[in-house]
Amino acid sequence: MAIQVDFLKKTPYFSGLNSAALDSIAKLIFEKKVERGEIFLLEGESDEVLYFVASGAVKIFKTSAEGKEQILSIARTGDSFNDVAVFDSGPNLAAAQAMAPVILYGVRKNNLEAIVRDYPKVATNVTGVLANRVRYLVSLVEDLSFKHVMGRIAKLLLEYGGSETGAGQRLTQQDMAAMAGTVREVVGRSLKVLEEEGIIKLDRHRIVITDREALKKVIEAPS
């Protein structure tokens, strides 16, 4: 299947290029289809391919030695991933899993280097993409390392918790993130930790606070 030039034009990497340039670049890009659930990029391995999501959604995540998963981002249509490993020739920073049937456009490292060399505008675009990535990851590091996000999430669970079914206000993980001044990924991780500690129980669409006193202690814990 031919690589869609219209799609490339809309990606941050290749915006601002003329049709002739996009046609040349399209010849260096290959298509890859991935089934839902497939982990097609492994953390720590060397892949040397930059990917763009042409359709579907991809979960970018790291896994700790204990098997805990931390989602770094969700790549949606038009987003790129594995940029860092391609540019520094190091191992893949994170794993990637298809959340749906996914169509990817891939560029191998040597071809990407040729594109950057031939089209300086792409180099400027790449700088912007990587700067945005650094900005997002620094804010994620800040949330995970320095802020007492868990305490704030515990606080809002107590504030919004009702004593019987249907009594409490309903909140999405995005709502909780906005209220706690963090990102959705950190909320998901915090809820998992609270569940592992036996303080809450995730029961499908219900968050059941099983140990109110322990939740209060989480709020009071020093940051």
Binding site: M99, A100, G162, G166, G168, Q174, I207, I209
Partner: protein
């Protein structure tokens, strides 16, 4: 009646990514708008909400103090 993800049809742009993500096939595109079928198999994974870029789909949690 089992709770299901909530749809705001005015925000839905009909991209269909949530349909592909949904493990239990609860979501369908009707014309250009997403629709939800009630099913016991929905385990509230919230992946449809995660991938919805327009915020048309939400999986709100009810917070209950036991």
């Amino acid at each position: 009646m089992i709770e299901m993800p909530v749809i705001d049809p005015e925000k839905c742009d009909g991209c269909g990514v949530c349909v592909d993500v949904c493990h239990c096939h609860a979501l369908v595109l009707v014309g250009k708008i997403i629709s939800v079928n009630t099913t016991q198999e929905c385990d509230w994974c919230t992946e449809c909400e995660i991938v919805c870029i327009t915020g048309a789909l939400s999986c709100p949690f009810e917070i209950v103090i036991e």
